[in-house]
Subunit: 268 residues, 2 copies
Amino acid sequence: MADLQNGGSPAMLKPFFDEESTVTYCVGMLMDAGLVFLSDTRTNAGVDQINTFRKMSVFEQPGERILVLLSAGNLAITQAVVSLLHERQAKEGESLLNAPNMFEAVRHVGDCLREVHRRDAASLRAFGIDFNASFLLGGQITGEAPRLFNLYAAGNFVEASIDTPYFQVGESKYGKPILDRIFTWGSPLQEAAQCALISMDSTLKSNLSVGMPLDLMCYPRDSFSGERCLRIGSDDPYFKSLHEAWGARIKQAFAGLPGLNWEQCASL
Amino acid sequence: MADLQNGGSPAMLKPFFDEESTVTYCVGMLMDAGLVFLSDTRTNAGVDQINTFRKMSVFEQPGERILVLLSAGNLAITQAVVSLLHERQAKEGESLLNAPNMFEAVRHVGDCLREVHRRDAASLRAFGIDFNASFLLGGQITGEAPRLFNLYAAGNFVEASIDTPYFQVGESKYGKPILDRIFTWGSPLQEAAQCALISMDSTLKSNLSVGMPLDLMCYPRDSFSGERCLRIGSDDPYFKSLHEAWGARIKQAFAGLPGLNWEQCASL
């Protein structure tokens, strides 16, 4: 509630020249058992333009590789990058589908992002619009273990590891505490997916700019298959039951906490 | 983990001219039963200058009024405002201790903040430093119910209500979901204090710029007394037990959630 001064969201104060923005929530998780990806689909360009776009793109050669790309930021930029990835695949044969490894794949996404930057950044600047885009790219290519990268607007990137096994983009803070408490490199896939959904549920509850439906992908290591991929709508019975169970269980967890005892603590 | 690009914190990249900053975490809660205030004490001016300052000031006439001021932002600004409040009280007799009501009291804080702005803002701007300060002022003056205000850097303010019963300043997002799930206007004081401590615990876990010890004030309505005021150190046995119990109970709550069933959900 610290941002009442700005009407809840900076975007809400700009009635004109509003670019569609995906300042929303995506999380990618890397673990021994595989990968989990979750994104919302909300975009907005001001208070009266709330739209739904897919932020998860899947590039798959069944049995050989799968790559999942999540995006956040200015929708025109992130869509241009995804279109360019498809166009280069069709025209030049350079593609996420034939990159020799994940490192080359994420470099390729960075190259496409830099091409969009060269084309669009100056024009955006003329309208006072930042070149705001970030991506998560994760997946597995035969011969490698699953890998996960966080790609910045400048086209450079960092890689997840056993010590830093997840990345978030967008409205990341609301949903970070539950990830920090529950998720580890050793988590089973299903538990990681539940943790991602709870993290999303906390974000949905505290921030209006993030919205249903959700796109969820669970990738079991060495399966080279994207079949565990779901779109979760607002009336999805599983997400509803998870939402309600978590709300109730948090209240229970809270109710059983040790009571505050004034006498035990030193006075100021 | 979205800010690895910036080394975890923008402040960490600026080795010189770093102003001591209290971008940390404070929460103020208004409810039927009274008021709760919680602040951390961490300030920093770059990665190697981590200090502890009190961010909670109490102005009290026992039996007649109590006002609690929490601050976030540039420490030089917020300290100047608090010093000015004390100086005006000594010199001019205009004071939080004789304001006729909470509305006039928060206006008085706003006036002091604006005086600091007139004196310092241009000099700060010359060093590229924003005039960054915000305050929570809450309390009760005889003749009124308890009230709580969120004061912005411009000296204007909003008031908490039954619909918006809490304000946060500083690193607010990590600790917001638990407040949204647990705290209401009807919460008992002790429960609200526990909720504030859990909210702080989540923030401490996810953000290094927030740090112990904590200052906690619980104000029972119509008590006109600040005696329920604690400093909670990092080895405080109650906070330790709360931290451990919450960590364990969150894991329990999570472990009992309904399992993810791929078959029940529609395919993408």
